[in-house]
Symmetry: C2
Subunit: 363 residues, 2 copies
């Protein structure tokens, strides 16, 4: 999804892809292992700025890039916080950002203590590598995370799990923000994200009823984090809006994020264009909405037979106003294989349009 923004601005994009046939193949690309320092260093020699579409490049590789004189945005110092949820909670606590109660627990007993102190349940997370609900578990006893503790013990590196209070929330929000190395910050309207089994299903921009205090607080939180951890590029801050009207930070992503896909069609500047501007330290674009409401619906899984494109004749005929995005991935249960975005003045109409259009692509 970065390619259209790069093409428009005449920015040459080179991609280090994990394997042949990945979506990134559409750009000029090299195939290689991002865990291998030499591969990444060789790739970086041909570019002006290195950036990322996930957080899993090891610190040792990132540091080697910086030492070799490459511009790396976001920097290893910033990415560290997106790579380890416990490091991130520590930093957010230092910054005074509102977050759920949390603890780093390294045994079932410690987790039991946390559960007892937090109303009888906890959300347990592996600090690294989780996404889309993976590496997250709601537990009522330490023993329910026994397998994770055992793996940690076996790999011998010590470490801990992250335990968090199970927040009583009325909905989930996300605040997207971009920051340049020179410090300029731009944020989009705060959005509501609707999750299905831990996976983002739908995004409503702006979050209904968010004008005023909610929008201000969300923007303040995201700005505080972007500055406090030195983000360069796009930062997505996932938030809980609690039943007592507080906002608490749930997760961070230091890259263009699913909660911002609506910006491709719904904002003057898409998160992908903004990420390019930010990592190149160029002035940021305007982040206003192009419609009163935008609704983005993910296409999860795709059809059990055939391809997404097989459904174009029906879907396009029924939804001429809707923008379709097909990631060119093979359909697979639960996989994000595309999304649709609709925009307009009436939220009910817009949401209906987007949901109906997305429904053409699943069985």
């Amino acid at each position: 999804m970065m390619i259209p923004a790069a093409v428009n601005l005449g920015i040459e994009l080179r991609v280090l892809a994990e394997n042949v046939g990945s979506s990134a193949e559409l750009a000029a690309y090299a195939v290689g292992d991002y865990l291998d320092k030499d591969t990444v260093l060789e790739f970086a020699a041909g570019v002006d700025v290195v950036t990322f579409d996930h957080e899993h490049v090891p610190q040792s590789v990132l540091r080697a890039l910086v030492e070799a004189g490459h511009a790396v945005n976001p920097s290893p110092d910033a990415l560290r916080f997106a790579q380890d949820k416990i490091v991130m909670r520590q930093r957010l606590a230092e910054l005074g950002v509102p977050i759920p109660e949390w603890a780093a627990v390294s045994s079932e007993a410690e987790l039991d203590d946390f559960i007892a102190a937090n109303g009888g349940s906890a959300v347990v997370k592996t600090p690294r590598g989780g996404y889309d609900g993976k590496g997250v578990r709601v537990v009522t006893a330490g023993a329910q995370a026994a397998d994770w503790f055992r793996i940690m013990a076996e790999d011998g590196r010590g470490g801990a799990l992250l335990a968090e209070e199970k927040v009583d929330f009325r909905r989930e929000l996300a605040q997207l923000v971009a920051r340049r190395p020179s410090g300029e910050i731009a944020y989009w309207p705060v959005v509501e994200t609707v999750q299905l089994e831990g996976v983002c299903a739908e995004v409503i921009a702006p979050a209904p009823g968010s004008l005023g205090r909610v929008a201000d607080v969300a923007a303040d939180i995201a700005t505080m984090i972007a500055e406090g951890v030195g983000v360069t590029g796009v930062l997505a801050v996932e938030l809980f809006e609690t039943t007592d009207q507080r906002l608490l930070v749930n997760e961070l992503a230091m890259r263009p994020h699913n909660s911002g896909h609506w910006t491709i069609d719904g904002s003057t500047t898409s998160q992908f264009e903004q990420h390019l501007r930010a990592v190149l330290d160029l002035p940021l674009g305007a982040t206003g909405s192009r419609d009163a409401f935008s609704v983005m619906v993910n296409i999860l899984g795709g059809p059990s037979e055939g391809s997404l494109a097989d459904r174009y004749p029906l879907a396009f005929a029924e939804a001429p106003m809707v923008k379709f995005h097909n990631y060119g991935k093979a359909p697979r249960l639960g996989r994000k294989v595309g999304h649709v975005t609709a925009g307009g003045d009436d939220l009910d109409d817009v949401a209906f349009m987007a949901r109906a259009a997305a429904a053409f692509f699943t069985d």
Copy 2:
């Protein structure tokens, strides 16, 4: 500019480019000569549909594609009208489409007769290969086209020049329309095009004061042509609005066209996405404007030193609302190397924004 639309829809684009280093290089591409039948046939073997970004592929090559069973949109029968201005005038006359007075003239004497019958001047055009003001000349005597007649005589193929009345127009308009093989048609709002020395400098969408009769007549003319010549894909109809309020067809282009670049940022469906939909015979997208007014300004020539991107820091800082398009071409006097588009409610503001943003990229 087709690449972003193709990427969004997950449509694989393959380009037969004239040479290495052309803008089309950003897509998967082959390098080869579109005049060579074997080259084009070999290229076509790997794709579902063949389409064009210019009109200069010879009929013999186009017919060979069709004979070999390839889907070719627009078809050779339709493209013929875009390839030869005299053939096109004949067809438009048959269709009853309003056009300037014209004649096919094969000698200075015939041109002198036409000039005498049309108020003492004529616009003379070479029937093939002209664009951006090339192959067009205003004359007051047949002798002023002597060189063109001589070339025709020397190449021994006979033929004629197109002579047209010099229309007394108050402004130039363009009507963009798309048509599928199955017959569905969609048109965008009629726009005003501002030419500088025969080259499009600026496009205002919609054309000011065009709501009502002008819009209806322009759409009718374009629809009549699209159906009458069997266009499949995007058709741009350049029009004169005469001082006595008539619309006359000036030129046709059977492909996405400069007068439609505003649609990338200013319409629900860009001309490039619509062209892809149309040539794939998929239902067309909505063609409404996203803003009350959009103004597109071409970047002509570019800076005399350095690249367009060198101007990004200043331009982006001053114009956060403006969308920038950089074709990745080397700056050269008069060459279209990029464009900018602004949108909003107030035409004066929008036009100022777009012109000011474009001015950052020339000396």
